[in-house]
Symmetry: C3
Subunit: 224 residues, 3 copies
Amino acid sequence: MSSAGGKRVVIFGVGDFARLAAVYLRTDSPHEVVAFTVHERYRGEPELLGLPVVPFEELGRSYPPEAAAMLVAVGFSRVNRARAEIYDECKARGYELVSYVNSKAILWEEVEFGDNCFVFEANVIQPFVRIGNDVIVWSGNHIGHDSRIGDHCFVASHAVISGNVTIGERCFVGVNATVRDGVTIAPDCVIGAGALIMKDTEPGGVYSTPGTEPRPHRSWELDL
Amino acid sequence: MSSAGGKRVVIFGVGDFARLAAVYLRTDSPHEVVAFTVHERYRGEPELLGLPVVPFEELGRSYPPEAAAMLVAVGFSRVNRARAEIYDECKARGYELVSYVNSKAILWEEVEFGDNCFVFEANVIQPFVRIGNDVIVWSGNHIGHDSRIGDHCFVASHAVISGNVTIGERCFVGVNATVRDGVTIAPDCVIGAGALIMKDTEPGGVYSTPGTEPRPHRSWELDL
Amino acid sequence: MSSAGGKRVVIFGVGDFARLAAVYLRTDSPHEVVAFTVHERYRGEPELLGLPVVPFEELGRSYPPEAAAMLVAVGFSRVNRARAEIYDECKARGYELVSYVNSKAILWEEVEFGDNCFVFEANVIQPFVRIGNDVIVWSGNHIGHDSRIGDHCFVASHAVISGNVTIGERCFVGVNATVRDGVTIAPDCVIGAGALIMKDTEPGGVYSTPGTEPRPHRSWELDL
């Protein structure tokens, strides 16, 4: 593989997250993205950002596990089960899965995390946090001290996960959601955008708030 | 003009934003602020932060477009129309309008933006974002990948504008507001503090939430 | 005391905050943490993180004010009165109380603050802010220009304190709370997690929102 801890990486996925992952790895990691891959039926164009899109069914021929590591850059489809399944399959085929932490995320040496994690910019992950495998932490979240995030979770942007929180596997935490300190979020929960979680949740629970309704007047009638 | 891309800049405005803009440009840009300007009837003191306040009506005499660039540091009065009008007038008079991006904002090379933009500290602007002219992005916002912000918008602090969002011209987005991914905000909307926008909005729509009501007890009665 | 402005520091407290304070001072300050201290009846183990836990009643023997400074790392018990009382007692005994500002907080030269302040990572404190004594600012908050925070306040994470806000003594501001610009928060208020404060508050007022309720369906029934 290439120099200084950098690896040749094949990104699984061709959607927004895959495209972003390529930009982030190229600009802000020692890794070299060499190809995208996805199941043949989702393949679309044969190239993306100037790189080949290889059918996942045939990946072993052009990029066997000895020649490349992988990153599964799939979002939260089916409450993270889609990504978890591909993660498992890549591992079963023998691929190493790399984790990426943006250079403008703030972590402490005490933080532990697994493989196929992707931590975007401006996250704060306080000391004594433990993060599992295959956890996506989008941008600008707070993960408070001593909290634990289970495998295959997806945390969107600006969420506040306070201290001593436990989040089970495959949870989705939406943008600007708030979880108070000490709470346990059971596996497979969906915490919607802007939701406020003040106590423990049930497995598979869905916590979402309706959007703000429009007022009867127009902005040009306001005294702003 | 001065060295290394730095310009002599006249700031339009004498309010909070103008005062802050002077501090930010002085401390964190190559530019040199040489004066403030405002219409004669709003002028008040002849000096601000040790610099002259020149009547806008006479600005061409002391600081013609050949001698200075400008920055219009006006807030969101009349849902950004006040700033837009002055922006247009400065351009019509031939002034170059500078943009400022704080050195502690996080941007990617793929971000495009226009003139008279002011991006405060701790903002994250993800790849493939396009920002128009005369857009104020206060502090600590998230602007997700592939989103577009129209001309003359004002985004307050800690707002989450998720990925693939489109925001029309002259919108106001309040502190800690949340816009979910893929939503289109029509022109001239007011998204109030803490509002949650889950679907497309109507032009000129006002989306605001009432503040949290007090509980019947006092803090010293709590078991905190 | 030790080199380059660094002091020998005894941390008051043995809870989460005290433990974190030791990590932060060790990793990100010139200070050397030499011991913890707490009242005899709360002492528990005689060591914490490899350092002695000294009974506060006897602190003067092993670490008199000439030999060590202090940091009171106590949370918001009794709406910050517990910490305020210990702060007062340490001062009365002659101890210097150190303040800590994380190297990844963003402050401007115009910010003033007192002693025993603890500012975590990723905070933005804009110009012309004044912060009193014994103020804890957890992670990722925005404190807008010209705002004032009174003595003994505790601000949790991701709060937005807009510009020109005044916060009285001993207030608690919860995670992801929002205070609009120009508002005055009276002393001893509790602003709960996710609360939205749009107008002035009464002394000792409690402003909290209930958590988001679960929806009737399970996450695996969603079309996500």
